[in-house]
Symmetry: C2
Subunit: 330 residues, 2 copies
């Protein structure tokens, strides 16, 4: 068999982030869930935007951020996600293609507009996200390029996109297409609140052996397994997914695979400016090393390097040359 042209194909929300620094007090005043991701409707989005300081717009979306990292590292990637036929949709499409990622999903005419995420960044660098899903929630199964999914080494899916019905159905179909072709399915749990809503689905997928690589942070691990204790959580899952990868913020990350546990410390950063995309870029580094045949320690290490880069600046798309940072792991 010839080498697949695409290494990682992802399905995710197509979002433009609208980001601004904010004082700690504003988080409480606005009733925001500090550090979390909350879905908001048009009215709430307007209310929050009105309360936000001068902002900047940078393309985002969890899986799209991961692909941006992967592509910057040299992986061949494709993205499937729904934008509207509007200016923010053009921004998203430009940025992902300019990063060298294939993106062929046709934009959607009419309302609602392209998804945006209003991100308030507190002085400690923590991000509090409020997502207006807009067009993103209408990604239809028809947008899937099943032949491309069958050819790609890894199908990468974000838990965030499990909320809306149409993309959920599309992702289920994509999982079947990938598995039928003998490909790996990677899944990120995204957020503890998403697990509150869809944990049963996620657990069923895992029990059925549909997930080859599972990404979570320690909070999501607890939410999924019901174990507050980190190691009990790992123990509950490690036999059910071939590769379990759990990030622990400043405490580094672990991978459980083949009956063994691997661990790396976090890469120190001078100042945590904005944690948006930390998990996304960790996944990028891990997956890049993984698809290039590196051992679990090396995958974790590259994940930590990419996460450190992304939290050193505003926005969830890499700014530094990740290949230079990766060195021999690139």
């Amino acid at each position: 068999m010839s080498q697949p042209s695409i290494q990682v194909i992802a399905i995710g929300n197509a979002i433009v982030d609208v980001m601004a620094p904010c004082a700690d007090a504003l988080i409480d005043q606005l009733g925001l869930v500090r550090g979390g991701m909350t879905l908001v409707d048009t009215d709430r989005a307007k209310e929050l935007y009105d309360a936000m300081g001068p902002a900047r717009e940078i393309s985002g979306g969890s899986a799209a951020n991961t692909l941006a990292g992967l592509a910057a590292l040299g992986s061949r990637c494709a993205f499937i996600g729904q934008v509207a036929d509007d200016q923010l949709g053009e921004v998203f499409a430009h940025d992902i293609r300019a990063g060298g990622i294939s993106f062929a999903t046709a934009s959607r005419a009419g309302d609602p507009p392209t998804a945006r995420c209003l991100i308030f960044v507190t002085p400690d660098g923590q991000r509090t996200m409020n997502t207006f899903l807009g067009a993103s929630q209408f990604l239809p199964s028809a947008a899937l390029d099943e032949a491309a999914i069958a050819r790609a080494e890894v199908l990468y899916l974000e838990g965030y996109l499990w909320d809306p019905e149409e993309p959920r159905a599309a992702m289920r179909r994509a999982i079947s297409a990938a598995r039928d072709a003998g490909r790996k399915v990677a899944f990120t749990l995204s957020d503890a609140f998403v697990i509150d809503r869809h944990g049963d689905d996620f657990r069923a997928l895992i029990e059925a052996g549909e997930i080859d690589i599972l990404f979570a942070n320690h909070v999501e691990l607890a939410a999924l397994t019901g174990h507050e204790d980190f190691h009990l959580g790992i123990d509950a899952l490690k036999a059910k997914v071939p590769m379990l990868v759990v990030t622990r913020g400043e405490h580094g990350a672990v991978a459980a695979t083949g009956g063994a546990l691997y661990e790396v410390p976090a890469v120190p950063v001078e100042r945590v400016v904005d944690t948006t995309g930390a998990g996304d870029l960790f996944a990028a580094g891990f997956l890049h090393a993984h698809v290039n045949g590196h051992a679990p320690e090396a995958c974790l290490k590259l994940g930590a390097i990419c996460a450190a880069e992304i939290i050193s600046h505003y926005g969830a798309r890499p700014e530094a040359n990740l290949r230079d940072l990766a060195g021999p792991l690139a």
Copy 2:
């Protein structure tokens, strides 16, 4: 007379900057005017955007940037400029209002869309700007709040907006309104190429004594006066404008007023990341100190402080707390 509610009212292009780092070679490949501002049409804007790397969007516009700095320093400001009724127009309007600046110009329905400036930033931090003027060029005289102009201490105008016919007429009318009310008119020359096109108009305004405060950089000074020698340029203008302020990049800035010449060195920065907005923020610092009654040296010093802040990061809107940086000059 009671204190005017607005200290500085500005008329300028209402632009969202689309910025990306780029290699030096791309500037030549695309045939761009390195370090300059070039007006582009829809087709050329598309061509340049297609060639641009992953970008970020940050509100811009020369006079709007200056007001953002002024407002961040604590000045009371109002902006007049034309956006379209679209997403980038919302972004511009949000950002300027979120900065505490009054902005009442109604957005314009239909085509063309809100202005954007495609900015390529080379590794040395130099910015090369390509402006699609869009809705901005249709600012009508009817959008002027002449009563507000008559009440504001200073009317601030950008030379960039002299290109399109409607805003030019609006600015001429605004100058009359300000002068009739005994207010000061401040003008920035913006760009040497603008002077190539409109130098005769600018010289006529200066000769007629319509400009109280003139901002230029050393290249624009040479273009306007025909003197390559900096001091000959200053000598040619200093008797014609009550306050002449000329920036010289890393060589600092001078002010010529009341028969004397004042000079400050540039404030050193660790790394020049992006020079976009350096002149705009210099003007902000200078004007803030000026309207608060500080001496020319202090005005120059605050200008240099604000310029140093803006070139230390991407984008032409301040990120650091300018009041903290200004200290007793705020």
